[in-house]
Symmetry: C2
Subunit: 194 residues, 2 copies
């Protein structure tokens, strides 16, 4: 029925919002990338447990995960409302910052992996640099976060540009707004039949 892609950098509040959506949309199918399929879980473990995989190899591993996820989850449940935690938007943004492969090439690689199955709607949660700094200070930093705030903000910029230029219906929303307000806007956006 509809494939909604949920995007945002770490700490933007995706998990909180997805938990709320699960209650608001009990019939929806919630999935994620990477790791939304058995193959994807194995790929995810490989990435976490291999010493210094080359960034390029990592890009292809994420594309393998994406190809499997699109085929086995998204296409196989095309009669449902599917909400995916991450997908090609963050895939391209992280791949570009890690490998410097041009965005156009990355879009092309992703279009092969996705076989023309694009989301119908995209929700992107964003944060200002100040808000991200504040949020990171509240948690012990994990590996991705340690790469720094500038890195995350640059990834977010790419995500934003990709979403804006995607020609897909989208909602870009400030993650610093009250949780409940964000939730209501997202539900309205998903339910909007336009």
């Amino acid at each position: 029925m509809m494939y909604v892609l949920f995007e945002g950098i770490d700490r933007a509040g995706k998990s909180t919002q997805i938990e709320l959506l699960k209650r608001a949309l009990p019939d929806a199918l919630f999935t994620k990338e990477p790791g939304g399929t058995p193959l994807g879980k194995r790929i995810r473990e490989i990435i976490l447990h291999t010493q210094n995989p080359t960034p390029l190899a990592e890009v292809f591993l994420f594309l393998a995960d994406r190809a499997e996820h699109i085929q086995k989850i998204i296409r196989a449940n095309s009669n449902k409302l599917i909400i995916s935690d991450r997908g090609y938007i963050s895939g391209i943004a992280y791949a570009h910052t890690k490998t410097e492969i041009p965005l156009q090439k990355l879009c092309w690689l992703n279009s092969i992996a996705m076989q023309k199955t694009l989301p119908h709607k995209i929700v992107l949660l964003t944060l200002t640099t100040e808000e991200l700094q504040r949020r990171l200070a509240l948690h012990p930093l994990d590996n991705i976060e340690k790469r720094g705030i500038e890195y995350l903000i640059s990834v977010q910029e790419i995500m934003k540009n990709l979403v804006i230029h995607s020609k897909i219906a989208h909602l870009i929303i400030d993650g610093a707004k009250p949780v409940k307000e964000i939730h209501q806007q997202i539900v309205a956006f998903i339910k909007d039949s336009q």
Copy 2:
């Protein structure tokens, strides 16, 4: 110094010839795809142990293995004579027969994974349909072999075309010739400084 790619379908006699080359060229570095790196070994296990991965996901897994192998083995040992058991030639040929992705797209995907590091020479061992039939009858069939003789011969045809049109120095040799004769031709080809 030199990267030699060794190609051929199963039963063409690659393993036998590579064993002989190891003795004839004791200073060469022998490697393989897939599975020539720690990441590659893990990818290989994933492919063997996942139930029905989509063929497209498999293509990207092999590309991840190739990217890692090119970077960590081929480029990291560019001062050596490197002989690789399989590489992009069989990669493209098998990917094309499994997914029907056009050869041109597959060449492009591989060029990204290989970052312009092409072999200096290619050896391709070939078999006639009759000889392949004879050889397969001598062994219990494994999964790939069961897909049939026609399949393997069609893969071999693609390999041959890729090699011929590669503009890379190559030796295409009938695997039905006496083992020693094949070996001598391969050594002469590799040592030939042209």
